[in-house]
């Protein structure tokens, strides 16, 4: 009886796996690519990272039903679906990054370091080292994203707790503060020593500034430099209806990708990037009228995208599995917009930007779509209707691309198998 039951169970698994493989876990992908649902309902999966053995760790925004906020997923039988799920920690957050046997994870205030053993299991789940503590987290843009360079430095995004640095945040007519006092301790990327314990602001360095909120960031090993994706400001039409209508607000400002060298300034809050004029435009809170330029000391974006799509993860592809065009190019997970209403929302996909010699070599394109679960080309009207929202990206040791979703807690695995 047991055998029959087992056979039935295995057959069921096989059928499920096959139907999943046929519909690519609901995703639309370029020719030759396949997707599987690597994991499901693990909790609000923000960023993800993968060890050299292929073990995936996800940081959850809140502890899941099991009360865990870091989830470990292993695919022991290598069928593209995780078969071993464990977890630990009880603090919410976004950032997670593994380098060798060092696993970094963030709360909204701190950066922690866990040790992995030879099987990539956590050795000290209850007693991580505190690498950085006491970072500012004031509701808006409080999550801390991290990445490491080749010298064991940790780069932490500290988002601005504001939309446009107004005296009264998100209040009509409230002027922008000059200079913006937020920039001393937020609105930029801070650099810390990845092995030193208990660092505070004074031990780190403000590596780059003028960034409203960066959720996606990655160290590009081809250029040996930091790249970030910024979430642009909201509500131009709400606060300045005489300067911007609904349609203009839906397209302004561009979401931007920057290469940030030490000391660089991307211009927030004084300017925003207009994708049509291709200029840095003075923010209306600082006297702008939609045309006046500003930001003489600010850098220009490396690439830019339609407004409000929320680039939540950035990954430079270094694998050998995908076709040549993807090598060293940038994948970006767009969480999906809300500030385009009343117009339809945009994003809810993974985009790709080809790179050559450290610069974009072509237009961006949609790589993986269909996360929202809507039929055909139907756009998301209200964010809560989207089934999945892409949030994190990671590259497996075999060159597969993993995408996390913080809505239903899915992890998608994308492979190239023509």
């Amino acid at each position: 009886m047991k055998t029959i039951k087992n056979i039935f169970f295995i057959a069921l698994l096989a059928v499920t796996a096959q139907s999943q493989a046929q519909n690519n876990a609901g995703l639309k992908l370029p020719n030759g690519f396949k997707a599987t649902l690597f994991a499901d309902t693990i909790g609000s999966a923000r960023h993800i990272t993968i060890t050299q053995n292929g073990v995936l760790f996800a940081k959850l925004m809140y502890p899941n039903k099991a009360g865990k906020s870091i989830v470990r997923l292993e695919d022991a039988n290598k069928d593209g679906i995780a078969d071993k799920t464990t977890g630990w920690a009880n603090y919410g957050g976004t950032g997670i990054f593994v380098r060798g046997k060092n696993l970094y994870a963030t709360s909204d205030n701190d950066v922690y370091l866990y040790q992995l053993n030879e099987n990539d299991e956590v050795v000290n789940p209850l007693s991580p080292k505190t690498i950085v503590k006491g970072l500012i987290a004031r509701n808006q843009h409080a999550s801390k994203s991290i990445t490491l360079d080749g010298q064991n430095n940790v780069y932490v995004n500290i988002g601005a707790y504001s939309n446009a640095c107004q005296e009264k945040d998100r209040n009509p007519g409230s002027k922008g503060m000059m200079p913006c006092p937020i920039l001393d301790s937020a609105g930029g990327i801070w650099k810390f020593d990845g092995s030193k314990e208990n660092q505070v602001y004074g031990d780190g360095k403000r590596y780059a500034t003028g960034l409203r909120n960066v959720v996606g960031l990655d160290w590009n090993t081809a250029t040996n430099s930091l790249f970030v994706t910024q979430h642009g400001r909201d509500q131009l039409n709400s606060f300045y209806p005489t300067l911007y209508n609904d349609a203009q607000n839906a397209e302004l400002p561009a979401e931007t990708m920057y290469e940030m060298k030490e000391g660089d300034n991307a211009g927030w809050p004084y300017v925003y990037y207009d994708p049509y004029q291709k200029k840095k435009i003075l923010s209306p809170e600082y006297g702008g009228d939609g045309k006046k330029e500003g930001g003489e000391n600010a850098i220009n974006p490396t690439a830019f995208f339609p407004a409000h799509m929320a680039p939540n993860a950035l990954l430079f592809y270094t694998g050998n599995q995908f076709p040549e065009k993807y090598k060293n190019g940038a994948f970006i997970a767009f969480h999906g917009s809300w500030n385009r209403a009343p117009l339809p929302q945009e994003g809810y996909f993974v985009a790709f930007v080809p790179f050559k010699n450290g610069k974009p070599s072509g237009e961006w394109e949609i790589f993986a779509n269909g996360f929202s679960g809507l039929k055909g080309d139907e756009k998301v009207k209200n964010p809560r209707n989207a089934k999945a929202r892409p949030c994190g990206l990671a590259q497996g040791p075999d060159g597969s691309l993993y995408v996390s979703d913080d809505n239903k807690g899915s992890i998608f695995k994308i492979t190239y198998a023509p």
Partner: protein, 138 residues
């Protein structure tokens, strides 16, 4: 005699109820005004379906606070804004709510009435009198 008194009593009752009804009445026209305010001020964050944005902008449709009885809190949030992480029905929302100092008490009553009776919400409408009793607490 008794019969006559009964009629009189009913009459007064009816007049009393009539006055009550009218002093509390939120007309269909008020709801239309409320809808218009919603479209120009609230919709961009709280969305056309009142569903809000996960983790950022709190939902209004089906939200216990919104259909609940703490009217003064609702009025205060609309008037003065809100800049704290809010816990609502098991989730947290982090975005700052814009203040609306230029809305009249009647505007606030209208938009609250619209919100409390739209989508799946079936709460009571809010009268001008209910808004007027709320004083700024700060």
């Amino acid at each position: 005699m008794l019969h006559k008194m009964k009629v009189k009593y009913y009459k007064y009752c009816f007049i009393f109820l009539f006055i009550c009804a009218f002093s509390n009445l939120v007309t269909a026209q008020d709801l239309v005004k409320g809808k218009k305010i919603y479209a120009t001020r609230c919709l961009v964050c709280h969305q056309a379906d009142g569903g809000g944005v996960p983790n950022m902008n709190a939902p209004l449709d089906g939200a216990s606070n919104v259909v609940g009885n703490n009217i003064s809190r609702l009025v205060s949030i609309i008037k003065y804004g809100y800049n704290e992480k809010v816990a609502l029905d098991g989730f947290y929302y982090s975005n700052a709510m814009t203040a609306n100092p230029d809305l009249t008490d009647a505007d606030i009553a209208n938009v609250l009435s619209y919100i409390r009776t739209s989508w799946t919400n079936k709460a009571s409408k809010i009268t001008l009198a209910q808004v007027q009793v709320v004083k700024r607490k700060k």
